[in-house]
Subunit: 341 residues, 3 copies
């Protein structure tokens, strides 16, 4: 998409210094910008780049006074950083809403209907009795099983799989190759040492504004629902076990795993590669450090834990510091023993 | 699917208290049940829910005597819990066998044939010279390479990839987006610092009753076979390196990784996020705690290990307990040193 | 593919002892070989297998003198091991170049063109304005978004997803279900506790000879590029965050995660299940042990680190050894305290 500097200045409620008929088609960092790009200068630390940049236009604060001659057209606004962010969001919105219609071949069972302004990519599949909202985008090779409900403005990227009975709210984003609602890992040990699968008949519910990362897996409940509450954000390659519940606005970084029936509260912040044992309850606002292993429930809100096995962040840091000095501790102990003989 | 209470009572060899013409179409926990659901009461602890439940029917023990009036129809059986489990399995069997036939477009090379009662979903792909058994289900967007053998009653879910020469037994389940038989990670370092790929010409063999979780990856052998023995169950997001062997009825939880050429024995229980170094031999019945890192072979059967690096579970627990008290140990050491001066 | 022993001897510049008209179609280990296979004997330790093998032909050194009568035809060469490796590579090259042409149905936007000798599998998808080189193989169900560039001889396996604006060099291999260029995990916390997605407008660049493992995810940059330098090899289930840079010929084992904006140098060797915090700079030639957690930048080239949190490998090994003996240390401390009272 291509815009004139004049169009962008109007959008941002700014004033133009220079040629307002130039066209720009890309957003870029000031030090990496090429002709045809628009960039911004907010931090005075980067001012030197302004005099060298190849950007066609740069957004600056109203108050900015250049110390040297400059090539790009300037767009002056109240707050250059916020204006650029606004531009990013607008641009992103245009991109993500641009796909509409049906590419062929694609498969949709006759019992299913999609809402208005939807996109259905080639090789996407939709099973029986699904309800798909308005402005939904199903990218190529996405899979929607039977009896799935998807709210408005939700995006299901290429290769993502929503298994039977999954319920997805509005404004969710499911990234490529994520798997939602496959069988939980439940097996009953038999007398002869073999395992018999326990039927997994529940489903997964994603409330509104949930984001699920690429190749992340969320298992369906044995009975009932595995639930991801509104506004929760899951990064890539995360494992969510059966009957887990993730609270509102809880954020989980990549490669973390949550075992079956554990409930994370609201507004938790979980770093990467963390593991949670099963059947725990984690209080609202809990923070867990990277690679921690959480083996017990957390009852006090706002607790910070670290380590494998995890305990209080502060205490863990102290123990870790001494762990490094263990050879020194042992040496001191040896000396004391010699003395005391 | 919809059944009358009478039909279910006959299936479970039970007696009906109440209206046996009611229809039910869902299985549910007693506290979450809606009209049209059937539930069960086995644990007296949950009896209170019986007097409030909206379930249409509830399975109870023959001996159960209600203390209050109840709404749902009762089905009385010898053992309510077992009867409900039986119902779950029957229901699951009906669902999983329900898909038969070929959806179009799908791709099968002319040199390949599928057995009777098979399902081939839209956008599934089957290469040359494959042998596909009876009652096999290939869900949409599944990929079967060349020279692949699949036994009877095996299910390959949407987006799962079985690369060339893979051999899969009977009654296996491959969950969505699992990748079986891609190249192992083998590279020969060259004098100039670059790496040259070592051709990976082996395959993967899954014996009967193997389950492979969503987004799990099992690499093909360099030569020979990577083997998953009968009854082994792998959870989601697991990495199995080239030339690995996983023993019979061994269970591995999510996000664990097994490096190349390591052999796990039979009946092992491996928790989540565990790592195994390469070229190890792990004895039958070994148990490994979550997030452990196993760097040495295990020779004694039934060993329990924990920690990264892993050692005996009992000793690891003791060391971990002291790790938490390290600041205290250091303080005590400081005091002893002061005294001894 | 089938070859006569004579054809292979010519390829390897070897001499034949026995029937050179036999045909072979498989490469195998000497102890596992079946009729129709060719194998090799390089290590005298395995000589006994030569007298029992069912292989049709075996490659041996010129100097080899059998102590017993043998069944297979021998191909005598300068160095049996190197010759067999050469054969493996040749065989692999033949396999991987064998697919050419277009299978239907597949989808390619009219604005895109592929180079000569390319393969496009069924259900593969290519978006707008892509540039695809010569001898490129896109396997079934691969997805190429808009504005993607792919160099010559690159292979994109089944189910791999290359999102919009991705740039891939020559001779790269993208394994099944890998996801390259999906949104980075960037969210701005709002006053009400919710998170607003930060538009991710950058891309991913893979230089030449890069290998990306199955189900590995490489996020696009917020702005600018996430870059994997020439010759880097990534194993399966790895997470590469936005704006990360991986240096030339750096090798990363499975299930490792690299957080946003971290830069790994050239020729690093990173083991499995390692985690890197964000915004670090890691010097060339750094080696990191399995399951380590790297929280600080590494400035000295050739450093070896281990542990979570990671520090010098040698010191970490010493601390770990004492960690195991902590119960003993505590006991000794208790005794000293008793004595000193």
């Amino acid at each position: 998409m291509e815009f004139t500097v004049r169009q962008i200045a109007v959008l941002l409620n700014g004033h133009v210094d220079g040629d307002d008929s130039l066209t720009v088609s890309q957003l870029a960092k000031i030090e990496e910008a090429k002709p045809g790009s628009i960039s911004f200068l907010a931090n005075p630390k980067y001012e030197a780049f302004l005099y060298e940049t190849r950007a066609s236009a740069v957004i600056v604060d109203h108050s900015f006074i250049p110390r040297e001659p400059i090539n790009p057209t300037l767009i002056r606004v109240e707050n250059a950083y916020l204006a650029f962010t606004q531009l990013l969001e607008e641009y992103y919105r245009l991109i993500s809403l641009s796909r509409v219609g049906v590419e062929q071949p694609s498969f949709m069972h006759e019992s299913t209907q999609m809402g208005e302004n939807a996109y259905r990519g080639a090789f996407s599949y939709i099973g029986k009795n699904c309800k798909i909202g308005q402005h939904v985008k199903l990218y190529p090779q996405a899979y929607i099983g039977d009896n799935v409900c998807i709210g408005d403005y939700t995006v299901v990227h290429s290769g993502a799989k929503l298994m039977d009975n999954t319920v997805v709210g509005n404004h969710c984003v499911i990234h490529p190759n994520a798997v939602i609602g496959a069988d939980g890992f439940g097996f009953a040990p038999q007398a002869d040492g073999t395992y018999k699968p326990i039927p997994q008949l529940g489903n997964v519910i994603l409330e509104d504004n949930v984001s699920v990362g690429s190749n992340t897996t969320i298992d369906c409940a044995t009975m009932g629902s595995t639930i991801i509450r509104a506004g929760a954000k899951l990064d890539n390659l995360i494992q969510i076990g059966h009957n887990v519940e993730i609270g509102k606005n809880t954020v989980i970084a990549a490669q973390t795993g949550v075992s079956g029936s554990t409930r994370l509260g609201d507004n938790c912040v979980i770093a990467g590669q963390v593991g949670f044992a099963g059947h725990l309850t984690i209080a609202n606002g809990t923070k867990i450090g990277a690679q921690s292993g959480v083996g017990k429930s957390v009852t006090e809100e706002g607790t910070s834990l670290n380590g494998s096995t995890a305990f209080s962040l502060r205490d863990n840091m102290r123990s870790q510091a001494i762990f490094r000095r263990l050879p020194d501790l042992e040496r001191r102990l040896n000396e004391l023993e010699k003395k005391s003989q």
